[in-house]
């Protein structure tokens, strides 16, 4: 049953550029990018039990990697950009994660928030390097080596770029599925549920948390790099702490106790935000209320409402 739904949704996703309006098709682009980001975030949140308030740091790393490569270094291959974003995400996450995973709960949240804001401040203040609050331009990347510079922008975005993104999302989903259902994934869940017991069973809690942290950062970097081309610009707000809060919100919205919950969360968040914004510019008011509602009444998110599953519990510490 689950597989049927999945196939239907995947088909629907691929059909969107042909059946839906261009506007809606372009909305799917940030959805797919955030889908990748959230798959990684939920490895850390839902499966390892760590709530980061600085994850947007890695989104920023990925986004600016794309900007620097295309507009400063003349590298236009999206494959290279994504690879670089992944590697840089890992390189930054390694030391940051090594420091942060020694702490749990609120201290972990605070440390990650601080790191995120360090990067934001760097992006904002060192404007000679980063363009300051105006950000940097991202030039249209080549897809699979092909320069599509002559295509009109919209055609490029809802055509080749769309399918490229869908491909990346599919690959990212496949990889994360394997990771989550591997012996490694099981170890992460033991750490989430009971770190003391996990240690007693020989699972090194800090080391595994670190692995999860780095992997989730790689996903965020890749997703961040994919956020750049549609708008053609990246700016420091990508790394701001409220952005980190928003992606945690998206994950919670969809349901962090399920594999596909975060994807659902990204989809609903983006569409709902768009719908609300078309009526009134105060989407935060609506979303804040939704978040409050979820936290109080429906902590397992939308997936929790559809699927009567295991009750959830974020790391007891």
């Amino acid at each position: 049953m689950g597989r049927v739904i999945l196939v239907l949704l995947a088909t629907g996703l691929l059909a969107v550029p042909h059946v839906a309006s261009t506007y809606h098709a372009t909305l799917m682009l940030p959805f797919m990018a955030y889908g990748v980001i959230l798959l990684g975030l939920n490895l850390l949140f839902g499966y390892t039990g760590l709530v980061s308030f600085g994850h947007a740091l890695f989104i920023g790393v990925g986004a600016y990697t794309g900007a620097v490569l295309t507009s400063e270094l003349g590298v236009r291959s999206l494959e290279v950009i994504l690879l670089a974003a992944a590697v840089l995400g890992a390189v930054v996450a390694a030391p940051v994660g090594a420091l942060c995973v020694r702490y749990v709960k609120i201290y972990f949240g605070m440390l990650t928030l601080a790191f995120g804001m360090v990067f934001y401040t760097f992006l904002l203040k060192f404007y000679r390097l980063t363009g300051g609050d105006e950000g940097m331009r991202v030039l249209r990347p080549f897809l699979l080596g092909v320069d599509l510079g002559d295509m009109p922008k919209l055609d490029y975005l809802v055509g080749p770029y769309y399918y490229y993104l869908a491909g990346v999302l599919a690959l990212a989903t496949f990889c994360m599925w394997r990771i989550v259902h591997s012996p490694f994934g099981l170890c992460l869940r033991t750490i989430r549920d009971n770190p003391a017991k996990a240690e007693a069973l020989g699972v090194s809690v800090t080391r595994y948390r670190w692995y999860a942290f780095v992997i989730s950062a790689v996903y965020a970097g890749v997703g961040g790099a994919l956020l750049g081309p549609p708008t053609g610009n990246v700016d420091p707000t990508l790394a701001y702490w409220t952005h980190s809060g928003n992606i945690v919100f998206m994950t919670l919205l969809g349901g962090f106790a399920s594999f596909f919950g975060p994807l659902l969360g990204a989809f609903v968040f983006i569409y709902l935000q768009d719908t609300v914004m078309s009526v009134v510019p105060y989407w935060r008011l609506v979303f804040g209320a939704i978040l409050a509602f979820i936290v109080i009444f429906a902590p397992s998110g939308l997936m929790g409402l559809f699927v009567r599953r295991r009750p959830i519990q974020v790391a007891p510490g």
Partner: protein, 254 residues
């Protein structure tokens, strides 16, 4: 062969002395019970021996190696496992998954990111074997949080056993469990230890029936010190132990 040796183990919490120069030797083939009134330092001793706490002074040797202050994870890898006084389980994992986690750890497969857990025959077989040993096989798909208390305790112990350790330290494995279940658990424990090649068991225990029914040797702790370390018969005859720990009214069944 001496499996575990503690010498002069002392633990201070600021000014409070929880353990004062505890010496302890456990040889292969032994079932050693640690008894003592509340606050005697039994759990502290277990925590020091299993790497949860660093001793303020003294040494601990496991299989001839100095493991003083070693981490819990390191000790688990060396062949020392434990269960907890306040039962510790993974609430959102099933019984089978809990045991699988232990087997994964034992086989060193924790870093296999892309391998399928479901299709790992060794892990599946190993987990199922332990589940059957402990009578949890028919509940193997139940979530740990939904298990009755006795089964949670069994699972805590079973997952420690799934590591196939050489030495296991059990902290009150039958506390909070009904009398009927207690003997069941103990018999399962003894049978399982033979099956997995366990070499020695250290058990903190309050129930004197179990202590005298199963132990080769009894160590009585009192106010952080070893009061007596002898066979059950000798302990029963030791007036000091009877007064402070066992109580005069105890007749015993053996």
């Amino acid at each position: 062969m001496i499996l575990l040796q503690a010498q002069g183990v002392t633990k201070f919490y600021r000014d409070f002395c929880a353990l004062d120069g505890v010496d302890l030797v456990v040889k292969a083939g032994e079932f050693v019970s640690i008894i003592g009134p509340n606050g005697a330092g039994k759990s502290t001793l277990i925590n020091v021996l299993t790497g949860v706490l660093r001793p303020s002074a003294g040494t601990v040797r496991f299989k001839e190696r100095d493991v003083t202050g070693a981490s819990t994870v390191g000790l688990a890898r060396l062949g020392m496992a434990r269960s907890f006084q306040l039962v510790q389980i993974f609430p959102d994992l099933t019984v089978l998954e809990t045991l699988q986690a232990a087997v994964v750890s034992r086989l060193g497969r924790g870093t296999r990111l892309f391998a399928s857990l479901r299709r790992d025959r060794e892990v599946q077989a190993g987990a199922l074997e332990v589940a059957e040993l402990f009578g949890l096989a028919d509940k193997r798909h139940a979530l740990a949080r939904h298990l009755p208390q006795g089964d949670k305790k069994l699972l805590d112990v079973a997952s420690a056993f799934a590591l196939k350790p050489e030495l296991i330290l059990l902290d009150e494995p039958t506390s909070g469990v009904s009398t009927a279940d207690k003997t069941t658990i103990m018999d399962i424990l003894v049978a399982a230890s033979r099956r997995i090649g366990l070499q020695a068991i250290i058990e903190v225990e309050h129930d004197m029936d179990i202590v005298f029914g199963y132990s080769d040797r009894i160590i009585a702790l009192h106010q952080g010190r070893v009061l007596a370390d002898a066979t059950p018969a000798e302990i029963r005859a030791d007036a000091r132990v009877v007064d402070t720990v066992i109580g005069r009214k105890y007749r015993g069944r053996r």
